[in-house]
Symmetry: C2
Subunit: 262 residues, 2 copies
């Protein structure tokens, strides 16, 4: 199992450093990056220089720290609008959140992790990057498992390799075997449950968004608290959620293949 970085040349290694800096989640100093980067001092230094000059990183003169730069925000705007399911799923999400009155998530797979691309909070209005772009684990979330369940074997193996299997709660699945068993079940019944596997008191139900050819495109979920919603009530949402997912899939299909191939 090796990620993206090693295969491509200088560009890959440089972008790996970008990921690293972004991963800290706060501005970092050179010396903090050095040990985890696994690169010679001079090389790391040069990479940071380039990234900074390219505005992919911002260097704070006063504090001597690096943080992800604004160019990324501009680029992400394009990415979100063009490559994510968000624009297509927008209406369905609005409607689902409205009728159920619950928090709804739209997610896609990113390199074995869950990438949330859109969200509807029960009430509050939404802000773009505060929620889109967030990442989470795949093995212990509803959307994550829903997507993993429909991955072809080779990609699934790669994804499983990348899971930490950290036991967030007593219910968390902590082994590849347990996860695979669960995925089979999910595949069979058509939806996934997160039964307080990520956070105690939080449960959710998720459905995969599949292309016509069966490729997994993303997933949506409805989140509830165990305090307010019984398990039966949660299971009752299976219908609405899977139907919403199917509608998004249909929209995606229509958009991407406007004409029929004979």
């Amino acid at each position: 199992m090796q990620g993206r970085e090693a295969s491509d040349g200088t560009v890959g290694r440089t972008l790996a450093v970008l990921d690293l800096v972004a991963g800290f989640g706060r501005p970092v100093r050179f010396a903090e990056i050095l040990p985890v980067a696994g690169l010679p001092k001079a090389t790391l230094y040069r990479f940071l220089q380039v990234l900074t000059h390219q505005d992919m990183l911002a260097f704070d003169e006063d504090r001597q720290t690096y943080a992800p730069g604004m160019r990324l925000v501009r680029l992400a705007h394009s990415a979100w609008a063009q490559s994510s399911l968000a624009p297509l799923a927008r209406e369905v999400l609005d409607e689902l959140a409205e009728t159920l009155g619950q928090t709804v998530h739209l997610a896609q797979l990113d390199n074995g992790a869950v990438l949330y691309v859109d969200k509807r909070n029960a009430r509050q209005p939404v802000e773009m990057f505060s929620q889109s772009g967030k990442v989470g684990p795949a093995y212990c979330t509803g959307v994550g498992k829903a997507m993993l369940a429909h991955l072809p074997e080779d990609r699934l193996a790669a994804a499983i390799d990348r899971q930490s299997f950290h036991a967030h709660t007593p219910n968390t699945l902590t082994s590849p075997a347990a996860l695979r068993a669960e995925l089979a079940l999910i595949r069979q019944r058509g939806y996934a449950l997160d039964d307080e596997e990520h956070e105690t008191g939080i449960a959710c139900i998720a459905a995969p968004i599949l292309s016509g050819s069966g490729r997994i495109l993303g997933a949506i979920s409805v989140t509830t608290t165990t305090a307010a919603t019984s398990r039966d009530q949660l299971l009752a949402l299976a219908g609405p959620v899977t139907r919403a997912a199917a509608r998004i899939a249909a929209t995606a299909e229509a958009w991407r293949f406007p004409e029929i191939k004979s």
Copy 2:
């Protein structure tokens, strides 16, 4: 005047291609990129391969097109949360939009262009389409001019070089000289006006967000329609807007320099 691309090596050139693809605003084919990239076929091909493999671009097998990839969304989340003013300005923006009942923008400079990092819509059922990350021209918008006005001369010259000076409306400033004169005025009175310079019927008033040392951090603006708001009414907003900007500046200062330097 040369951009970022030329100076740095392979990484810079590759990222320039990324910008190019993102710039199309829609999925593009190899052949569409080739002529505008100014690179040999083989080189461009390799760059696209690398970017795709790195998930910075997504390649659509069926349509044979490239589009910005999801990795950017993940990275942008970090960038937005750490490097933009948005998290700091949030409360002030909420309050300003609330009390004035008008559309409010928060912007930063990105390579000579205006990058909107946050927005509050007047009332509407939230035009939720990712406002953050949008870019606009600097020479004919309130926020743009407010920021240009406080740029040091060398960076200003570079920024002016990058303006198109396209006459969007009869009021648009169309020459560096006219712009520089306006900037002097803005610097002096402390706020900027966009008097239908970008779009007919739309006017706005903007104030710069300056660090303690006078460095420009960003700008905020309140947008109005000439139909609903008279010029006098617009000018009356100067106070609230500049005060809001000052509050954001203070927050930024407090955040970045928690301790006092003697």
